[in-house]
Amino acid sequence: MIDALGRPQSLLLLGGTSEIALAVARAWSDAHPVVTVAARPGSRRDDAVAGLRAEGFEVEVHDFDAEATDTHPALIEAVASTRDIDVALVAFGVLGDEEEAWTDHAAAVRLAQVNYTGAVSVGVCLAEVLRRQGHGTIVALSSVAGERVRRSNFVYGSSKAGMDGFYLGLGEALREYGARVLVVRPGFVHTKMTKGREPAPMSVSADQVAEAVVRGVAGRAELVWVPPLLRGVMSGLRHVPRPLFRRLPL
């Protein structure tokens, strides 16, 4: 159960090796949630699990491949069979090379499948479990890149725009069942995924995103920006005329 101060007892990390996912787990460490790491097998997952255990977490591990959508229903049911899913974090995603992403057919399809199809797939499975439980929160890691898609990373941005819309809608659909969805829109986050890229203005760390998740779940928020100031910025950018927008250094 999520307690009255907004702290979960169980946490499912889909894409459990992502830095943001691990930062979210650490941000809740004083609540001692059982953490289920769902990720592809390999050394990254081994390291993530070992790190969490070293910090005192009780950890369970499941194989998860975002593209293998036909395996998702069984995976989510397996996780839900041992205990309620209090918070599920949809944290997987690929950024890829921005130019390759629209010039290489295979890269484009893969990005769309992981970031959008995979996200929709687990969302539907999680919704089924949360409806049955009558409670629980899905935290979907979106991006401001999806709010107004830009030339510089439009394949990634469009996939995030799609998953963002899906999860906002899912939140509405789940309201009457007692379950919630929190959509998180970070700006540029300093992680391995973005390493070597020129940071955008108002960039944040994985820990800052994690803090926003913890606050958002406790405050029963539906949509948060990290940093919060981005809300106003993006609101303005949405209305910039296209000829001007393409000249902006974004």
């Binding site: 009255a4 101060l5 702290r7 007892q9 609540a31 409670h135 007692g178």
Partner: protein
């Protein structure tokens, strides 16, 4: 959190419990618990079961869904009263037994469970058990304080006490600090039937811990003057004020709470004897304002009530200092001296000191309360499940050593764990 709420007749309870779905069922009274004891996400919640009330000699036979408000209105004109009444009348008899509630008389007469002569309990196998201190005491003492996890109570027979009037003679005394308050309570609480103290937990410096002790006895006919003598049994009425909805966060702030506490302290007399108060205003001051919880805004508040053994009084002093230092302002902080524990497997009271706090939910509170949990458990104390909404399963296990015995009784009457609540899930019960 969503569950299916059902109202059924007493004779349908067994079938309803048997046919509860995979998320189980729990009975709910008036839903006044501060926590998740009567919530059951995804499952079924059984609403109060009404029925008639009648006297059986000096005992009263009452359906579990009857509120203490209605019960008192039935008893008072007959010159009877309940030996134990909690801080609100808007709870049901079933809820009062399941939470084993206490009142200002605990040091003398114990908990609500101690007033139960017998009760009828429907267990998940559909059986109705007549339980009491002498009838299946094992199941009885699991049910008293058992948070509804042993079955659904249908009705109970309760002991009542005679009262000459519906008034209380109240003595009020002010103390400048917590130490002199506890000394006075140690010394002379036993001479009073009712005793409770209010403590200022928000002021800075020397005002921290100043308190108002109020103690009372049922007034006799001879204590009443002309006007009151004409209405010796004033009946408790309905709430006269209602808090509005849509109050923003922050109304109950450190500043407003400090101002309130200052007023409360200075409005109390240094020492006054023999003031007459109606039973309702003495026992249930908050019942005069409907939906007062709304004043905390959307973030809400949590109640934290701890008890520690007499020898560990220092933990109470520490808790007050710690919360004040962290800026966690409690609108009302109540201190009471408990008498001995009973045999209830999950019953809250143990002989010693209990402190109850209303704390607005704000950042940093969770970790302060986690630390307090550890201190309380260390000295053999515990927190009150009826008010809890944030205790962890491991702290619960450390505080309630008889939880294993409780689980064994449930293995007997509910092996499939059909009775379920969010509190049970949270605490691993």
């Amino acid at each position: 959190m969503v569950s299916r709420a059902l109202t059924v007749d007493a004779d349908q309870v067994a079938e309803t419990v048997r046919s509860a779905g995979p998320r189980g069922l729990v009975a709910r009274g008036l839903g006044r618990s501060y926590g998740d004891a009567a919530q059951n996400a995804g499952g079924t919640v059984l609403l109060p079961i009404s029925g008639e009330t009648r006297m059986d000699g000096e005992d009263v036979v009452v359906s579990a869904g009857t509120s203490l408000h209605d019960l008192m209105r039935y008893l008072l004109p007959r010159g009877r009263f309940l030996p134990v009444t909690p801080g609100t009348r808007y709870v049901t008899v079933g809820g009062a037994i399941a939470c084993d509630v206490h009142g200002k008389s605990h040091h003398r007469v114990g908990t609500f469970g101690a007033t139960v002569v017998s009760a009828d309990l429907v267990t998940p196998d559909g059986e109705t058990h007549r339980i009491g201190p002498t009838q299946d005491p094992e199941l009885f003492w699991a049910t008293v304080g058992g948070m509804g996890l042993t079955g659904v109570l249908l009705r109970a027979t309760l002991r009542t006490i005679p009262v000459e009037t519906g008034w209380v003679r109240v003595d009020t005394e002010r103390f400048g600090d917590l130490g002199s308050l506890t000394a006075a309570m140690r010394e002379s609480d036993d001479a009073w039937t009712y005793s409770v103290a209010w403590v200022d937990t928000v002021s800075r410096g020397r005002a921290l811990g100043r308190s108002v002790l109020s103690r009372g006895e049922h007034a006799l006919v001879g204590d009443l003057d002309g006007r009151r003598a004409r209405t010796p049994y004033p009946l408790p009425g309905e709430p006269r004020l209602a808090a509005p909805s849509g109050v923003p966060d922050g109304l109950v702030s450190r500043a407003s709470v400090r101002a309130f506490n200052g007023l409360w302290f200075h409005k109390a007399p240094r020492h006054r004897e023999g003031e007459l108060q109606s039973l309702a205003s003495f026992f249930h001051p908050l019942d005069g304002v409907g939906d007062w919880n709304r004043l905390y805004g959307p973030s809400g508040f949590v109640q934290y009530q701890l008890v520690v053994p007499d020898a560990a009084e220092e933990v109470v002093h520490n808790a007050v200092r710690r919360l004040a230092a962290g800026g966690h302002a409690s609108f009302l902080a109540v201190l009471k001296r408990f008498g001995p524990a009973n045999q209830g497997l999950l019953s809250f009271p143990v002989a010693g000191w209990t402190l109850a706090l209303d704390l607005p939910a704000r950042p940093g509170l969770a970790s302060v309360l986690d630390d307090l949990d550890a201190r309380v458990a260390e000295v053999g104390g515990r927190v009150y499940l009826a008010k809890d909404a944030r205790l962890s399963a491991r702290s619960f296990a450390a505080m309630y050593p008889r939880a294993d015995e409780f689980a064994r009784v449930r293995d007997r009457v509910d092996p499939g764990r059909i009775l379920a609540s969010d509190l049970a899930r949270r605490l691993g019960l």
